[in-house]
Each structure stands twice: as structure tokens, then as C-alpha cells.
Symmetry: C2
Subunit: 252 residues, 2 copies
DNA sequence: AAGCTGCCATATGTCGGACATTTCGGCAAT
DNA sequence: ATTGCCGAAATGTCCGACATATGGCAGCTT
């Protein structure tokens, strides 16, 4: 039986499809998505399945179900952008939501230097292995940047690199927050055709960050993370506004 | 018809009930919760309703549904503790999860000083109103601490106070993270009978934090937030381990 | 004419039963 | 002892029906 299972064609994912439509702007906050029966017809599945998927969108705060009236898209501020599923959708469809992307990047500018500093204090050998593997993956997929597949791989390793640093804090909350990295890192890739930054420079900054963590030098890790993020912000056309943490405190 | 609607008795919330059982330790990671039909019988509702509620637990990462086998409780690390619903349940039933509580408090020790500093730079008049109202609510519900109702009110204002500071950063991610405050603040209350800290001292520290933000003094706000959190950590029997951000950077 | 009341259409919420699919465990043949 | 098949048990999906909540319109009252 070399033939694979003849029907891996599972049922269509209504949540996924609606998420794409909403994130792409087809439906905006305040709009109503099609009613259940319409979705049943459109996707050729039963109401139970449709309702199950709509429940997922409710649980992440994207839509609000009004009994007897319909399902309304909620305001962006009400979305659970910390939910892994939402960040996953943001990475794929969020081009038309530049505001959220900017806020996420601002958040990263805020916290990543601090996370790097904490990681430098608590990282174990196992954490360093994860960080190093991700780093090497970034390096190996840095050449012919014209190949989309390779650029995607590079981004995956980039995400893994930063996520590994978050995990090295050995704190559940920080670790789960690493999901927020994915959208902005992928956004960087999708715009990298116009990116003016030198990939080699970026890799070198990542190396310095990694080495600072390995050497358990929290302050160097803090500064190195600032440098990495500043590069990212610049590539996305955002001047690092005020990563003035060090500045304000050094006044002391 | 002075009689109210005779049946506001809505259907039992299976998700809520199961969450309480899981958070209380009746079911632990790896265990299987009762099968759908058993829950139908136990709560006297239909399978559709049961499945809808189970879907909610799946969406927040608490359980995992294995087709044809059952619903298994996932490891704590896989729970979406950043989801508002999960933090809500944590505030109510999390007594038997001291590990998660400690990690949340460690996270707060990490970020709240920085959040306070950022708020001091960006807070608008409207933000200050929210902070001040919460502060006054804390003060007015500080007397006879023996009254449980008043202690609950005090906690609510305490949460509102810290959440208002998070919102004053004017960043979506920070604002949504304020949900994480609730569990540890409520935990403090539930243990306050053995708390040795003076409520007046705590209130005074909060006042200094508020005034630093109002006066736009980021560094003072940073230090004041550290003082507030140190008090909280001490009351919960945790020495502030290493809020050494300032320390490490001041070495510079 | 303005405002209120009550009815009706619409869409979601719940119910009950049925069948399909997946998983696991046991039994039997190799 | 291993492999393969079969069947029990639980979840996934489907179908049809009724209950409930919401919004708007018609008609009546004032």
C-alpha cells in the first residue's frame, strides 16, 4: 500500500478562513460576519462545525456573538493579541494592521533588552544549546536571499533565537510572551526586499548578543539586545523611539 | 408584575465547573476529565453545550481532546496563562498552584518598575484620573480590614490602580498584560490574615508611585514601583529575589 | 402627529438522535 | 513473540427541530 490515506482532506477550517478575511480587512470592527447558515452553505459543513469554529474566534476576543442578531467583529483593542493563535494569524495576514504591528514592535523594544539581561543571569547550558542552534540556522540560511524558501527558514530560526532567549529566563510568563515575536519578525521578512540593512551586520549583532548571554554579562546582553532591536526597528522604518531605560537609570 | 423574570436560571457553565476542579487539583496534568456523555448527565444539558464549553478549555490550552479517547489535562506550562479567562480562574481557584503564582509574581517584579517608568513618561491627564480614582478607592476601603467585603473592594481598587498604570503606557500589549496582575493581588488578600505588613505603609508607597508618575519623574516611578512590589513580595513570603535591573545598569 | 405596544421575522442557543471516524485493547494467526 | 484483524468506546460530524433573544414594523393609543 504505497498509496497514502486516500482522504486526508479534512473539513475546511472556518475559523482560519474567517480570520484571514478579518485580518485582511474584508470585515472590520463593527461589521457582521455571515450568519451561521450562510457559512454552512459556503463551506459545505454542518452548523455544529461552524459554531465550533466561531466559538474559537469568540474565545480569542475577535468576534462577539449577539444572540438573535449575528456575530460582530470586535475592536482591535479587545483582541487577545497575546494568544498564540492570534499571533500566528497576525504573522500571516496582518499586513493591513500596521498599527498593531507598530505597538508590538514598541513592546519588543521595551522588553527584549531586559529579557536578554535576565537570560544572561539564568541561562543554563541547555538554553545555550537552543540559542546556538538557532543562531547557526540563521547563518546557514543567510545566503541567496532571493530564494523565498530560504528567507522563510531564516525567519524561523530568527524567531527561534529570540524565543530561546525568552525561555532562558525560566519564567512561564516570559516564555509564553515569546509568541509575540513572530509577527514582527515575519513582517520584517516580507518587507526585506526593500530593507536597506545588511544581513551580515544583523547576524553579527545577534552573535554579540549570544556571546554576552553565554559569558553571563547581563549588562552587555542588555546593550546587545538594544542594538539588535534598533536594527530591526530601522529596517521596518521605525526609529527606535525611546529605549531610554538605560539612559534614565544611568542618570542615577 | 413586580416578580422578576421567573427563570434567569441559565444553563450551568461546564467550563467554569471543570476549571474549578482542575485548578483545585481534582484533575491534574495527564488525567482525563469525564467523557462528554457523563458531563451531559452530570449537568443535565445536551452534548452540544458540553462540547461548546470543552472547546473553551481547549482554546485556552488547559485540556487537549484526543479523538476517540477522551479529554486530557495538559501540562501547566502549556496553559495560556496570559488569557484573561485563565487569569480570572487563577484568581479564584489557584491556591493549589503556588508555583504558577510565584512565577507570576517574579514576572511582576521584573516588569512593573519598567512599566511605571514608561507610564511616567507617557501618562495623559485622563490616565492620571484613572490612577487617582483607584488610589482613593484603595484608601477608602482600608479601614476595618476584618470585613471581607471591604477587603475585596480594596483588592479591586488595587488591581485597578496597577492596571491603570499599565494602560498609561498607551501600548496594546502592555495594557493586555495587566490581566496578569489580578491573581497575585487577590492571593495577597486571601493571605492577608497572616500578612504582617502595615496597610498604611503599603498605601503610602502607592501614593509615592502615583505622585512620581504625575510629576513625570520616570526614575522615581521606577524606584517607587520597586518599593511597592517589594512590599507585596514580602507579604507573600517571597523575598524580592533580584530586581537587580537598576543595580546591573547602575554599574555602568 | 408623536410615542408607545405588541407582533413577527431573523439569527443565535439548545436539544435529541444518528452515523462516521479515530483510538485502544484484545484475540487470533503467523 | 510479533503481526494483523476486529470490535468496543469516545470524540467528530451531521441532521432536524424547537427555544430564546434581538430588531424593526404595523397598528393603536394619547
Amino acid at each position: 500500500m504505497t498509496a497514502r490515506t486516500p482522504k486526508p482532506a479534512r473539513r475546511p477550517n472556518v475559523a482560519e478562513a474567517l480570520a484571514e478575511a478579518i485580518f485582511s480587512g474584508d470585515y472590520q470592527p463593527g461589521d457582521f460576519v455571515p450568519k451561521e447558515l450562510a457559512l454552512c452553505e459556503q463551506f459545505a459543513i454542518n452548523r455544529s462545525a461552524v459554531r465550533s469554529d466561531l466559538r474559537q474566534l469568540v474565545d480569542v476576543g475577535i468576534i462577539e456573538r449577539i444572540s438573535g442578531h449575528g456575530s460582530k467583529v470586535r475592536e482591535y483593542a479587545e483582541w487577545n493579541i497575546l494568544d498564540p493563535l492570534v499571533t500566528e494569524w497576525l504573522t500571516r495576514y496582518a499586513a493591513p494592521n500596521p498599527k498593531i504591528q507598530r505597538e508590538i514592535l514598541a513592546f519588543r523594544l521595551d522588553v527584549e533588552p531586559y529579557v536578554a539581561m535576565t537570560a544572561a543571569k539564568r541561562a543554563t547550558a541547555r538554553d545555550l544549546v537552543a540559542i546556538e542552534e538557532a543562531f547557526e540556522g540563521m547563518g546557514q540560511n543567510l545566503h541567496n536571499a532571493s530564494c523565498p524558501e530560504e528567507r522563510r527558514l531564516h525567519s524561523d530560526y530568527d524567531v527561534a533565537f529570540h524565543a530561546a532567549i525568552f525561555k532562558a529566563t525560566h519564567n512561564i510568563v516570559w516564555s509564553q510572551l515569546s509568541h509575540i515575536l513572530r509577527p514582527s519578525i515575519y513582517l520584517l521578512v516580507s518587507m526585506s526586499n526593500v530593507s536597506a540593512t545588511d544581513p551580515e551586520d544583523s547576524l553579527e549583532r545577534h552573535r554579540q548578543l549570544m556571546e554576552s548571554i553565554r559569558a553571563r554579562r547581563p549588562r552587555d546582553a542588555f546593550l546587545a539586545a538594544q542594538a539588535v532591536l534598533a536594527g530591526t526597528a530601522q529596517a521596518l522604518g521605525l526609529d527606535a523611539p525611546e529605549s531610554s531605560l538605560g539612559h534614565d537609570l544611568d542618570i542615577a
